[in-house]
């Protein structure tokens, strides 16, 4: 299935892109996405504990299951204000 991946801040810098149509296995989870990214750049491993995921613009619990067409965003520690 296809999901849309959005990356911001340090995650964007680590990946080298800010948005991508991603092909993932059925029932893939946010952990699986992070694993795919870690293969691209092992720097993601060091950030693992501090990256949150949002699916369709809502924060989701760890290892959240994805569905076709989901908008999946990686949210590094926010620093607004």
């Amino acid at each position: 299935m296809k999901v849309t991946l959005l990356l911001f801040s340090v995650a964007k810098d680590l990946a080298g892109f800010d948005t991508k149509e991603l092909e993932v296995p059925d029932h893939a989870t946010t952990d699986d996405v992070l694993e795919m990214l870690s293969k691209l750049n092992s720097g993601f491993l060091a950030w693992k504990g501090r990256l949150r995921f949002a699916v369709n613009q809502e924060y989701v619990p760890p290892n959240f299951e994805l569905h076709p067409g989901d908008e999946v965003a990686i949210i590094p520690p926010v620093s607004g204000g």
Partner: protein, 146 residues
């Protein structure tokens, strides 16, 4: 309810005016400005980026939560994006209530929550030429020299 992301300088007078109602007795306003230092280093400029649709959703969500907790008359939350010079306003939050206690508490809640959950990131342009994503909590700094 003025809840926006702004690409232009923030006009405080209009933000405060937007929360004044004839019933209001106390208005509290938080204004965040760009500081010239971070972690002991000199900063020239900040640059903000956002996951805009989600940032707006979260801004609405924290305002709704504040309105459930306190009897508020009106709330305004405006965050700036893009480059913000030292001394310029990056965020403004205004809250009106019949009594000041509630206005103070709700404003404090809103800026704390905004900094915790709203997907906005700032990049610090240091005077030594390096550019880094802000690490608010003394976390490991990831450098992205440009």
């Amino acid at each position: 309810m003025m809840i926006r992301i702004a690409n232009e300088p923030i006009d405080l007078q209009s933000i405060v005016r937007s929360v004044i109602t004839p019933e209001s007795g106390g208005i509290n306003v938080f204004v965040g400005t760009t500081r010239n230092h971070a972690g002991g280093r000199s900063v020239d400029l900040l640059e903000y980026e956002a996951y805009e649709p989600m940032a707006l959703k979260m801004m609405h969500a924290i305002v709704e939560e504040a309105k459930e907790r306190w009897p508020l008359h009106a709330v305004a939350v405006v965050h700036r994006l893009g480059r913000v010079e030292v001394g310029e306003v990056s965020v403004a939050i205004a809250v009106s209530s019949a009594h000041r206690k509630e206005a103070f508490e709700a404003t404090r809640f809103l800026i704390d929550e905004l900094k915790r959950v709203v997907p906005i990131w700032k990049r610090e342009y240091f005077s030594d030429g390096s550019v880094e994503w802000s690490q608010q909590t003394d976390e490991q700094v990831v450098s992205s020299n440009t």
